[in-house]
């Protein structure tokens, strides 16, 4: 645990980050921005994992491994998502959510 | 082929051909309307085989405008100068030969740029060396430009 900083501080930061991500998810139409919002959300989750690990179970490493796995999945997801976006862009010349309905695959 | 054989052959192909006097080499003066035909024949006939257009120049003889083609055959090594002329200074035009010798495309653009001679069916007849908005044809003998040209 960290001197002088209660666990709630970290949690508040991650919570706000999480909901900012949700807001971004809702208000933007551009797929890349939506992807960025998702990254924000995942990131806030990661903070939580680590903070819980640090404050509540300091003699274990589970939190760390979960973060590792989340990051790996995030990377895989991002790479496929971007492949899709760029393909969409090549077809429709823009990448807004509206076009998803037209996608063939 | 020797020059005489060439002469014979060419006068066989097209009528109205003249052979002006020239010390160095064989010269033919072609009427403008049979230029394309002669050029094609010269290029495609295996005995003549003029496949290399060395140079294409415009000339202003004051009395008339002319275009001079220097031709060579890479296989037979013979040399020929082909010439066309026109008296029309306002709107001179000839057929293009750029499908026969590709290099002619730019040479013709240059002649157009410098002498104002137009080439029918040329794919891209724009000014080559001068600006697009340049007025006049600089290499003509009657070209004058008091501002840009200091004469001596």
């Amino acid at each position: 645990m960290i001197q002088d900083i209660p666990i709630q501080y970290f949690l508040i930061v991650s919570t706000i980050m999480f909901f900012v991500g949700i807001c971004g998810f809702l208000i933007r139409h551009n797929l890349i921005t939506i992807l960025m919002s998702i990254e924000l959300i995942l990131n806030s989750v990661n903070i939580n994992f680590l903070v819980f690990n640090k404050y509540l179970f300091p003699n274990q490493l589970q939190g760390n491994f979960f973060v590792l796995i989340v990051v790996a999945i995030a990377a895989a997801e991002a790479s496929i998502a971007i492949a899709l976006f760029i393909n969409m862009y090549r077809m429709y010349n823009n990448i807004d959510v509206e076009n998803i309905s037209e996608m063939k695959y | 082929m020797t020059n005489d054989q060439l002469k014979e052959k060419i006068s066989e192909w097209v009528s109205g051909i003249e052979f002006p006097e020239n010390k160095q080499y064989l010269e033919v003066l072609v009427p403008a309307n049979s230029l394309k035909k002669l050029a094609e024949l010269l290029h495609n006939t295996p005995e003549t085989d003029f496949d290399y257009l060395i140079s294409l120049s415009g000339v202003d003889y004051v009395s008339h405008l002319a275009v001079v083609y220097h031709l060579e055959s890479t296989s037979h090594k013979h040399f020929l100068v082909m010439k066309v002329k026109t008296e029309d200074r306002e709107n001179p035009n000839f057929d293009t030969v750029n499908e026969i010798w590709r290099t002619a495309e730019w040479y013709e653009r240059e002649v157009f740029d410098m002498f104002g001679i137009k080439f029918n069916n040329h794919p891209d007849l724009r000014r080559l060396l001068m600006d697009d908005d340049w007025v006049g044809f600089p290499l003509r003998k009657d070209y004058k430009d008091e501002i840009k040209m200091i004469e001596r």
Binding site: L68, V71, A72, A75, A76, S79, I82, A83, I86 | -
Partner: protein
Amino acid sequence: MNSEYLVLFFLLGVVLVGGAIVFSMFVSPKSTNFAKSEPYECGIPVKSNAWIQFNVGYYLFAIIYLVFDVETVFIFPWGVVMRDMGMTAFIEILIFFFILVTGLLYAWKKGALKWV
């Protein structure tokens, strides 16, 4: 105890660049004309505004990179313990590499590594 050092070095960069730019802004001469603020293209006024017709190669490599980057991250902890763990770690990494190389070979075969 390390984060303050990191922030310090971060700030050093900011101070160096920021300071120099601000200083330079005050002392350097200024003049404007029309052409100066135009983008440079060998002295020709920029005309076409079409967007770049990009190439699949550009981002395909980026995507493959991301995948491999994750793998690299995972191998590093392995590297540390390889000496201590011995055989187990060796076998695990062989499996891991086998899968990884399959991916690489697949991409290779598919022509994803070829620049078109």
